[in-house]
Subunit: 146 residues, 2 copies
Amino acid sequence: MTQQETSQFRRICEQAGLAVTHQRQVIYEVLAATDGHPSPEEVYARVRRRIPAISLATVYKNIHLFIESGIFDQVSMHHGSMRVETNRAPHYHLVCTGCKSILDMEGGLPGLKEIEERLPRGFRVERLAVDVVGVCEGCQKQVVVQ
Amino acid sequence: MTQQETSQFRRICEQAGLAVTHQRQVIYEVLAATDGHPSPEEVYARVRRRIPAISLATVYKNIHLFIESGIFDQVSMHHGSMRVETNRAPHYHLVCTGCKSILDMEGGLPGLKEIEERLPRGFRVERLAVDVVGVCEGCQKQVVVQ
DNA sequence: TGACATACGATAATCATTATCGTAGGCTTG
DNA sequence: CAAGCCTACGATAATGATTATCGTATGTCA
């Protein structure tokens, strides 16, 4: 965590109206440094390496604050627990119903314009979540084996 | 439930390898007759009007069997509990983060062709889930009031 | 520095969902 | 159509994820 990063984090907190705390900063840094779509438990595990005494509740509370402030997003789940979207670039997801993996596909989606043109009056779009749901190559083989 | 519907249900069960039971049929009929995206609790409430002694666990088990068999889908949640997709037509969702409502928008999904061209080798697509996440007109007003 | 607001940690509580298990009912075969 | 097997049912305990509570500690601002 360079001084640059710290001052950037201070700016983020100021905009969101959040106090700057050590725990909050480490949670932020862990999220920003994590590829993929970590669950709160995974975030907790990583943060504990730097703050062993941190509480799981603190991790949950801060993840929610970040999501409410739009600093991170939430991945829509086709399974179990919540996941944090740490990828800020436009992309969509390949979701495997077998192994529950979520793979990012970079780049915009075709056909977005048409969708946006047809929105009902007054609906304010925050983001677009597109998931291609199916079965990955590995899981297709496993089903045959079973 | 006409005789036609019953024989249709028998066919569905046969294809899925499921026994034909009264409870299962009522759960199926309730799902097929429900607009929107009912939660298991909502399904339970409706089914109980016809089978007061049914167990919530039975409702959950059958919903899962239907989803596994592809008879119904699961809505990806941007909040709370699971929901069943009872709309068999291609459509996408408007999800309000305020009131948690899910509105169906018929037709006009992004071009599957372009997406499929970019898929990794071996991924078998089952369905496409497109959710436009935002705030509906009503909830935007309420926020101002608060 | 002092006062107040917010955050933290520990843990209890809640909520949705799943597992267990004994009984009942559907389904196939003789 | 009876016997036996397999699946399903109902009741309820257990689980797992998330949230609420509350007393203490820390950040913020005058």
